[in-house]
Symmetry: C2
Subunit: 112 residues, 2 copies
């Protein structure tokens, strides 16, 4: 069993049917996390370090964990980092239209 397999096993993701609305809304309620989600929605999977967020590495790690544990993002190990992707299909199946509504609202509110 390789190191990367061990790392992968430690990254837990809630299954689609266990995603909870409250946890997802909480995950999206922070401006930094919302920015992460908007970036992923616009451009696909990204590594943790590539977001250019104005927060410390540990805070960044915390935000990614909140998003992952709520089921908003998936993380897979790649070398010494993690690649993040939006669980759009799972979110859409569980909470139809919610993610797009929040992202549209965030875009409109920020732009105005």
């Amino acid at each position: 069993m390789s190191d990367s397999t061990l790392t992968a096993e430690r990254i837990q993701h809630p299954p689609r049917e266990e995603l909870e609305l409250g946890a997802v809304l909480h995950a999206l309620s922070d401006p930094v996390r919302l920015r992460i989600v908007a970036t992923l929605a616009a451009g696909g999977a990204r590594t943790c370090g590539s977001f250019g967020l104005p927060v410390t590495k540990s805070t960044c790690t915390h935000h990614f964990r909140v998003l992952r544990e709520a089921g908003v993002i998936a993380q897979r190990p790649e070398g010494t980092t993690r690649v993040n992707s939006l669980r759009r299909d799972d979110l859409e199946a569980r909470f139809p239209g919610l993610l797009d509504r929040v992202l549209d609202t965030a875009n409109t509110t920020t732009a105005s």
Copy 2:
């Protein structure tokens, strides 16, 4: 100046243009608060004690304050209690479609 006027002055509400998406999502991220909002959405203004919530009075007061400070509900004094109402027009103007999307999702998720 009467006592009720003094009480009314202490109840602060953020103006429509200062409502923040993060604060609103956070306010809606708790199951008890979401239930309060769904009840208000279905039936208009209600007093704090009339919701029959499975929480202590102080927890209940806390939830109403979070909702009010986020701009989700308005509270006005009536005798020794407060009457709550949903700020639907303000929410709709600021975050079009968001509240209905969340409430529909909550209904669907709870029902399934």
